[in-house]
């Protein structure tokens, strides 16, 4: 008889927190990916839903318990990436990252370019101008919100994360060649300080983010060694860090790593580190959740890089603002349409990529078998 599957239930299996295992962050990554897509969609409709947008007292009240989420998600994701960092030969490290990650990045760029053509066909305007505005940031890795020669460049969207991860891992691998830990920490801290000094400049190759986020990955390596996310953080530590983040937010502090904004400089960065660790530990407590919903989130988490790439295409290429104007009187319906379309696009993209990879693996296996049958092992 087929087992009836429950939507959500709690599994108290102690093996969930006994060691580091593959897939231990799938639920956490899935939750963050959902949150990122939701925040992008809600942002497009915030001003239509509320007359005074983010300054609305209701929005402030709703957002006030979420101060950790304003500091922590990006550091948390890079800390998770730190679990996959190993010291290797520089040449091998560069080859590995270029082979695995640069191809999806270029696919995103080509996907966005195709949509630029479609948008040009539909709405007209200067094609060369549009291409330069859109492709330049991709080729040179300008972070979202960068200004060049007085002009605001189009952003590369959420895929800046992949770009920063590729080059951040290579940079971290350089740092790890130093044998002593204090030398590694010193180089990373110096790099972070330089990044904070250069924070306002439109530097290419997400340079500031690479210098800052490699520090998060290094912390991730330490968290793995000490198995910190498997342990329950004392409540008072969570509360203290939450309160500090809330006070800082109320005073105007903000750490937007994607946009290279640190209003209080180093203080915001320290808070980002703390909030990242706390968020990671809190999210890992949810690992007890099982069932259809939790499995769906884990699936999204496991395909996070592809999800991020496909979402970037839909986020940058689809003219959501113009579509939103059609729903001027019914912003909630518009919001729902954008959320559903974004998720459908991302999920479909991931399924197609997975099918493609499976076919490539099967083809490789078949050709290997063919060679062995012809010429022997």
């Amino acid at each position: 008889m087929k087992e009836k599957r429950r939507l959500l239930w709690v599994d108290k299996d102690p093996s969930l927190y006994s060691s580091n295992y593959i897939g231990m962050f799938d639920l956490t990554k899935g939750l963050i990916m959902v949150e990122i897509i939701l925040s992008h969609c809600i942002n497009d409709y915030l001003n239509l839903l509320l007359y005074d947008g983010g300054d609305n007292i209701l929005v402030q009240l709703l957002l006030s318990p979420l101060t950790l989420l304003r500091y922590g998600p990006v550091p948390m994701l890079f800390m998770i990436c730190g679990y996959g960092v190993r010291r290797q030969r520089i040449k091998k490290c560069i080859k590995n990252h270029i082979k695995i990650f640069l191809f999806p990045y270029l696919c995103v760029m080509i996907g966005v370019m195709i949509f630029v053509f479609i948008k040009w066909g539909l709405f007209g305007g200067s094609l060369v101008g549009r291409l330069v505005q859109q492709v330049l940031p991709f080729l040179f890795g300008f972070h979202p919100g960068a200004h060049l020669l007085g002009d605001s460049l189009e952003q590369i969207g959420p895929v800046w994360f992949v770009f920063t991860y590729i080059f951040g891992s290579i940079y971290l691998n350089f740092v790890l060649q130093a044998k002593q830990s204090w030398v590694q920490v010193f180089i990373l801290a110096a790099g972070t300080a330089v990044a904070l000094i250069l924070v306002g400049l439109p530097l290419p190759f997400c340079l500031q983010q690479i210098l800052i986020c490699s520090g998060f990955m290094y912390v991730g390596m330490a968290l793995k060694r000490e198995k910190v996310p498997q342990q329950k953080l004392p409540l008072y530590i969570v509360l203290i860090i939450y309160l500090i983040c809330t006070v800082s937010t109320e005073l105007g502090g903000l750490a937007e790593i994607g946009n290279n904004v640190y209003r209080f400089g180093g203080i915001d960065l320290i808070l980002a580190y703390l909030a990242g660790v706390v968020l990671l530990c809190l999210h890992q407590r949810l690992n007890v959740l099982q069932g259809v919903i939790a499995d769906g989130l884990r699936w999204i988490g496991r395909h996070m890089m592809w999800f991020c790439c496909v979402h970037t295409i839909s986020y940058l290429a689809v003219p959501w603002k113009k579509i939103g104007a059609y729903f001027g009187n019914y912003p909630l319906i518009g919001l729902l349409v954008e959320i559903l379309t974004s998720f459908a696009f991302a999920i479909l993209g991931c399924i197609l990529i997975e099918v493609g990879i499976k076919k490539r693996i099967a083809k490789k296996r078949a050709s290997r078998k063919d060679i062995i049958s012809r010429y022997g092992d």
Binding site: Y21, K224, I361
Partner: protein, 80 residues
């Protein structure tokens, strides 16, 4: 069966890691010793599923801590 799967997995990951400094044994921990990235891990799982014509259930992942755990879980699934 188990020994064959174990040897295949070790060879596969030796090829991925390609580093003489890392000793890959059946007791090697996938996260702590091999430090495979999530994409390497996902590709590995897809490769194993394709090689043995099985689907690795979500719940089995948490029991895959070392290489011999992966081989044991895979053997169980294949034999089912």
């Amino acid at each position: 069966m188990y020994q064959e799967i174990l040897q295949n997995i070790i060879n596969y990951w030796k090829n991925i890691i390609d580093d003489d400094a890392i000793d890959i044994t059946p007791q090697s921990n996938l996260m702590d010793d091999l430090s495979l990235s999530s994409v390497e891990m996902l590709n590995s799982l897809l490769m194993l599923e394709d090689t043995y014509g099985v689907v690795i259930p979500e719940k089995s992942l948490r029991h895959m801590v070392t290489i011999e755990d992966v081989a044991r879980v895979l053997t169980e699934i294949v034999q089912k």
